[in-house]
Amino acid sequence: MKRKLIGAVVGAAIMSLATGQAYAQAKAPAPKLSGDMVKIGVLTDMSGVYSDLGGQGSVTAAQMAIDDFKAQAKPSWKIDLVYADHQNKADVGSNKAREWYDTQGVDMITDALNSAVALAVSKVTLEKNRILIDTGAASTRLTNEDCSPNTVHYVYDTYALANGPGKAVTKQGKDSWFFLTADYAFGHSLEKDTADAVKANGGKVVGAVRHPLNASDFSSFLLQAQSSKAKVVGLANAGGDTINSIKAANEFGLTKNQTIVGLLTTIIDIHALGLSTTQGMMFTEGFYWNLNNETREWSRRFFGKHKKMPSMLHAGTYSAVMTYLKAVQATGTDDAATVMKKMKATPINDFFAKNGKIREDGRMEHDMYLVEVKKPAESKEPWDYYNIKAVIPASEAFQPMSLSRCPLVKK
């Protein structure tokens, strides 16, 4: 019985090896376009805490990019869009990606917000030799320890979010920090990255409190932040936790004497809270709709379809899909390595990024913005929320290549 079982297992292993080889051989003479079409998958959180940040908006943005590309470049091939809800679960996300790659002929996956999901999908993408352009996840691991020749990290990461305020705010003389940190990997790494930037610029960290994810009440934690007498309270959390922290900070009068810095705050959060609660907050954004005519023009079009202004994820997803399609057009193939080579060689110039560059480790470098939330009286129209305090140039915004822990980077 036991021997039979072992035999079966070994047999299965040999079978899978054989089919894997057959697959690789079939793949070798790359057809110009697999399945005679390009298929793009938006894998995102459609119903959970991050669904306003990505979600349906990302699907809309990707569809806009496809429509615009068809109108401009008039390709002879078909482009198809699919999307799915990964429910913020790494296993659901990677299974969906596998299914898409194996049975539906998906060539490229985008959005993939939530770092845990992103890391899992990146592995599947490498295994299946397709492309992941991640516009939603935050973890710097995607381009460091877990970097992959098939993955691009497009919009932001924890280094970029932490570095901007850590440096700029500290240099303004607000040099003592207290952190309110979500007690899981993302919060810890955001806190660490910011603390490093604060210390490097002559500031000090006076304390931190770790709160559980989705804590319903933040008043206790904020009272601790208040009694620390730190000049800055850094919120190393995201989504609903950030929103509730800010709301309580306002109620307990922290905003009078201390500056609240959101380390992952987006326009979606500001819209949810209103300006009277958030005025004076500072944080880093990868995109703002009201920067110039180009961003306004695109964002208003997006607004027409989605009824909300775009987050940096939405704008980034449009830009990523466009960049990918242009590279396919230019190379005449959807072979991952060829397209990736082309994307890395071509600077990205659109409303989202100026002279954006995809580096060897997969990091897309572009300018980031240090923003301050306007007072209600300064806001001239709905969604007019930010004063741009500084443009952080691409070369400073992201982790320098010299510090890279990515094995692909030759030093």
Binding site: A215, D217, S220, L223, Q224, I243, K247, D269, T277
Partner: protein, 295 residues
């Protein structure tokens, strides 16, 4: 400065006070659950969603009809109560004779539907609801800076909890109610309309959740997920207090709020777990809960 366990007494008192605010929400919510379980034998998993609906109705009232906070405090619970009555008449009433599990599954499904509905309409980031002007500012209590609104939350919840306890335990109406749960057939034989009482009880129980929702709206972000974050803790409170015990749920709600508040100072990482640790211990030592009676 004097200290308790290494922290200044001021901070200690402050955290106790904040714990009391959270405890007020726990007490009001678990009271509704206890009333429903005690009278109907239904484990109402839709409670969190109805709490959210209360907050949402307050927001909708303000933004679509210009109804202010005070009217919302009355109207939103009524609205939620009506929703509850519709649920009871159309669905729940067929389940009383069946196992608890059926009621639990039905109400859990309803909760998911309600949350999905509001999520589809308004997204997950939530909606702003500002603190009414009367409560802007804060009291300086010497040991802490207590926002006036939070003080009002404690006061309002205590009043409502006390009134509920009084009606059920000390008035003739409450006596009928208790009789109707103890022995529905006999009570009906005395000429009391039992199905009507049961319907109103469910309506009232969920109206309490709606009331807590309106109270929470200015203090927390109004969002479709606000109920699901809270409901599990509230169930733990009911279990610790003793399923169906009115007084138990009030006292345990307030007490656990304070214990949780202190945990946030001593070991913040455990603040979301401490309630469940206590629940496990209580179940081991007193399976019927602190105030429950063994049947």
């Amino acid at each position: 400065m004097s200290e308790i366990f290494g922290i200044p007494i001021q901070a200690f008192m402050g955290q106790l006070m904040l714990g009391l605010v959270n405890g007020s929400f726990y007490a009001t919510l678990s009271l509704g659950l206890a009333v429903i379980f005690g009278m109907l034998n239904i484990i109402n998993f839709a409670h969190g969603a109805l709490y959210m609906a209360g907050a949402m109705l307050a927001w909708m009232g303000l933004n679509y009809f210009g109804i202010g906070y005070w009217w919302s405090l009355l109207l939103a619970p009524l609205g939620v109560g009506l929703i509850g009555i519709v649920i009871e008449r159309s669905m729940l009433q067929w389940l009383y004779k069946l196992d608890h599990l059926y009621g639990l599954l039905l109400t859990f499904g309803l909760a998911l539907i309600l949350e999905g509905l509001f999520r589809d309409l308004y997204g997950v980031s939530g909606l702003p609801y500002s603190i009414p002007e009367e409560f802007a500012g804060a009291y300086n209590l010497g040991f802490m800076f207590l926002p006036k609104y939070r003080a009002w939350v404690i006061l309002a919840s205590l009043l409502v909890c006390f009134a509920t306890w009084f009606v059920i335990e000390k008035t003739p109406l409450g006596a009928y109610l208790r009789a109707a749960t103890e022995n529905p057939k006999l009570t009906q034989a005395f000429g009391i309309n039992v199905p009507l009482m049961v319907m109103l009880t469910y309506g009232f129980g969920v109206a309490l959740a709606g009331f807590a929702g309106v109270l929470a709206a200015p203090a927390m972000q109004v969002s479709p997920l606000m109920g699901s974050n809270l409901i599990i803790v509230v169930f733990a409170v009911v279990v610790i207090g003793g399923m169906g015990s009115i007084l138990g749920s009030i006292v345990t709600g307030l007490g656990l709020g304070m214990i949780e508040g202190l945990t946030k100072v001593f070991y913040p990482e455990a603040s979301s777990t401490v309630v469940f640790i206590i629940m496990a211990i209580v179940l081991l030592v007193r399976p019927a809960g602190l105030f429950g009676r063994e049947k």
